[in-house]
């Protein structure tokens, strides 16, 4: 039997049930990830377009490949017609042309920051689709399918979902473009030409999403391929060890000490090395957050499970303790979003405070840069929060489908739907509260020695807590909405076979 014929067998209309719904969720996640990634990539392309003398990437990367006679400042002269180019470096147009490369650098940093939640979302989509496939593939192996057939079927399934999601994501990117074109950067609005990344980038992104889905699907398939009896026993597993917390605390303490010693270090190591060191120490605790996250979630759930106040809390905490890594994964994307919220609040403060003190006009290049850093930070925060919310929503919906049979049994026995809803919400809210405290607290703690002055400002604090509240609200709403939809579909008391 050909792989395609096997695939068709499982994808006839009306034969898919819960597996079809989770496939749809995976497609939604791939679409959201692709759409946001392309939008951000479009932004980077826009800045490169503006910075490049002939508006090509090749020219931006290598001045020798620029079209003959191309002049980077000429584009900016159109924006600032009152400033004659003959004024030299002092001209706003020349200043803007000089800063254009810096904008590209900042956009790439934002893009890199978003790579983490993007990969997390695409990964969660791939995991979700693959986990549903396991039981079916194990049954196929038992029925005599070869390992090759199972691998090819999985590859076709995963790549199909990813490519479909990526195609919808491309449409999403095009649909978002008019909104991005309203944004004001470098005192200019983006044009379609600037935001259009080109067919090669679109194809590359779709291929990248497909490869990510394939890799994830084939990795999870190993279990089924090795033995057809791929059903895992639900036995107690050891909880994450406390050394994770110790390692995280150690690194955070080291970062704080390093920040205190920065002035001395600058004298010995020089400006560039010290900046890199500070950036490294700023990012390291967040890199280690995944290490400590599952431990912190498990510790909190264990504390609440010791004496739960009601049945819903007991069910929720036991579910978290069943797999703390899964509970953490559901909300982990928000850690980075909250980290970005910290930076955004500082950038927002500096853009307004810096500009005001200089007393410059709104068209002053320095003022424009400060303002754009604030806007860019907010935009990055919004994208990170949306990615985290979609990721969390997708994982939560998948989790509801996972529990559908158990919850159905509970409803048969007389458990009211409100209790089960409360259990599901507590299952999301507990890790969400933990990540908010952990990431928000860590962000605050690390930035305090660096930006002590601005961190004390009301505006910064408002920006910081507003950003955190935005992340929290988006993830909570995403998870709750997914929960509601999935519970509505899966919670009916279906007929049992006689």
């Amino acid at each position: 039997m050909s792989t395609f014929a096997l695939w068709r067998l499982f994808h006839r209309p009306g034969t898919r049930g819960a597996s079809g719904r989770t496939s749809a969720l995976a497609v939604v996640a791939f679409a959201a990830a692709t759409g946001i990634f392309l939008t951000v990539l479009g932004g980077v392309h826009g800045f490169v377009w503006r910075a490049s003398a002939d508006h090509t990437v090749a020219c931006f990367l290598d001045a020798l490949r620029c079209a003959p006679g191309a002049d980077a400042a000429a584009y900016w002269a159109l924006t600032f017609p009152d400033a004659p180019l003959a004024d030299g470096a002092a001209s706003p147009a020349r200043s803007m042309a000089g800063m254009a490369g810096g904008y590209v650098f900042l956009a790439i940093i934002a893009c890199l920051l978003l790579v983490v939640p993007f990969v997390a979302l695409a990964g969660s989509a791939a995991r979700l689709a693959a986990s549903r496939r396991d039981a079916r593939l194990a049954a196929l192996r038992l029925a005599g399918a070869t390992r090759g057939q199972v691998v090819r079927l999985t590859a076709l399934d995963a790549a199909g979902q990813a490519v479909l999601g990526a195609l919808i994501g491309i449409l999403l990117y095009l649909a978002l473009m008019p909104a991005i074109m309203l944004l004001d950067f470098q005192n200019l609005r983006f044009t379609f030409e600037q935001l259009w990344v080109g067919p090669a980038a679109l194809a590359g992104t779709a291929a990248g999403v497909a490869v990510l889905a394939l890799a994830s699907a084939l990795l999870t398939l190993r279990r089924v391929s090795i033995t057809p009896l791929g059903v895992a026993a639900r036995a107690s597993r050891p909880l994450p060890a406390a050394w994770r917390a110790a390692a995280f605390a150690g690194v955070t303490a080291a970062a704080l000490i390093a920040f205190r010693l920065l002035p001395q270090l600058r004298e010995h190591l020089g400006e560039a090395v010290t900046t890199m060191l500070a950036l490294g120490f700023l990012l390291l605790p967040f890199a280690l957050m995944n290490l400590v996250g599952s431990w912190a979630v498990a510790a909190r759930a264990r504390a609440r499970a010791r004496r739960p106040r009601d049945a819903a809390t007991m069910i929720a905490m036991r579910r978290i303790l069943d797999d703390p890594k899964r509970a953490w994964r559901n909300v982990s994307g928000i850690a980075l979003a909250m980290f970005i919220a910290g930076f955004t609040s500082i950038a927002g403060y500096m853009s307004t405070a810096g500009g005001a003190s200089a007393g410059a006009s709104a068209a002053d290049p320095g003022m424009i840069l400060s303002r754009d850093i604030g806007t860019g930070g907010l935009l990055t925060l919004a994208f990170a929060a949306v990615l985290a919310a979609v990721s969390s929503g997708v994982m939560q919906a998948g989790s509801v489908y996972d529990q559908a049979d158990e919850y159905r049994m509970l409803m048969l026995e007389g458990t009211d739907a409100a209790t089960l809803s409360r259990a599901r919400f507590a299952e999301v809210l507990t890790p969400l509260n933990v990540v908010t405290l952990l990431a928000g607290g860590c962000s605050m703690l690390l930035m305090l020695p660096l930006f002590a002055q601005s961190m004390g400002e009301t505006r910064t604090l408002l920006g910081f807590f507003g950003g955190i509240a935005l992340c929290y609200a988006l993830v909570a709403v995403g998870a709750f909405a997914a929960n509601r939809v999935a519970a509505g579909i899966g919670g009916d008391l279906r007929r049992a076979d006689d």
């Binding site: 007991m314 069910i315 158990e406 049994m409 048969l412 026995e413 007389g414 007929r495 076979d497």
Partner: protein, 277 residues
């Protein structure tokens, strides 16, 4: 207890009229129960159709007319306090549907189910849910226990759902574990137990709320015969100790022998010869 007859439109003629005078009033009663899964839209219209077909014109839109069997075809059923009844019959005969209708899990297309004189279908959904939680207990073939909860919390769960606090509920659950000789399993999760142990925990969970009726749907279906007998023995002893009536759906005659009476279902009807055993 053996002289409590099960009544049905088909089996009524087989019940001894002389026994009717000593029959206690039923705690749970289903009258003229009809269940047509194919006819949501015909819930009221076809409820009393004598044969298992949908009347023309009641189907959705222009969907082709398909004759089909009713899952329950005018079934009458009565259960007395403390009685135990086995419902036997081939696959697809409507046994589980009858159990679900009697337990208020599904609302039959036609007929009424009354528990202690109250029409279950007339209750609001929340009340019906509360009734299932407080007055009924359930033992299914498998998959009933929450895999994340240790045995003691699985048993305590219905007590906590009823509003009992964690400490009191788990204390009571431990007493049930001791009573069934399962104290050592208190901290074990279902994935760490054998099938027989899981069913014993499910029995403790079903009975810990002291229900009036225990519904058991193929409770030994996933067990070997010896373990099945042991589990049935525990179920019946515990139910008797609590004064609960038991309805057991089974294919296995050796399981049915644990009950005071057996009825047989075939094509949605209680068999004429399936009244009192």
């Amino acid at each position: 207890m053996n002289d409590i007859p099960i009544t049905s439109s088909a089996s009524t003629p087989h019940t001894a009229p002389s026994r009717a005078s000593v029959r206690p009033s039923p705690i749970l009663e289903g009258r003229d129960l009809t269940m047509d899964y194919m006819a949501d839209a015909a819930r009221s219209g076809s409820a009393h159709t004598p044969v298992g077909v949908m009347p023309r014109g009641t189907d959705r839109g222009s969907a082709p007319y398909v004759p089909h069997a009713l899952a329950l075809n005018h079934v009458d059923f009565a259960l007395a306090q403390g009685e135990s009844v086995a419902v036997m019959g081939p696959s697809g005969s409507g046994k589980s549907t009858l159990l679900h209708a009697l337990a208020g899990i599904i609302t039959p297309t036609g007929g009424t189910v009354t528990f202690r004189g109250t029409d279950i279908a007339a209750l609001p959904d929340a009340e019906r849910t509360r009734l299932r939680r407080t007055a009924f207990g359930f033992v299914f073939q498998s998959g009933q226990l929450l895999p994340e909860l240790p045995a003691v919390e699985n048993i305590a769960l219905p007590l906590m759902l009823g509003g009992m606090d964690y400490r009191a509920a788990t204390d009571q659950a431990v007493l049930w574990l001791e009573r069934l000789g399962l104290r050592a399993l208190a901290a074990q999760r279902p994935g760490e137990m054998s099938g027989g142990q899981m069913q014993r925990i499910a029995i403790a969970r079903a009975l810990c709320t002291r229900p009036a009726v225990v519904f058991a749907d193929e409770p030994t279906g996933a067990l070997d015969q010896a373990t099945g007998r042991e589990v049935m023995g525990i179920l019946m002893d515990a139910a008797r100790g609590s004064g609960a009536a038991v309805v057991v759906v089974t294919h296995d005659p050796s399981v049915a022998r644990f009950c005071s009476r057996t009825v047989t279902m075939r094509d949605g009807r209680l068999d004429a010869d399936g009244g009192a055993r």
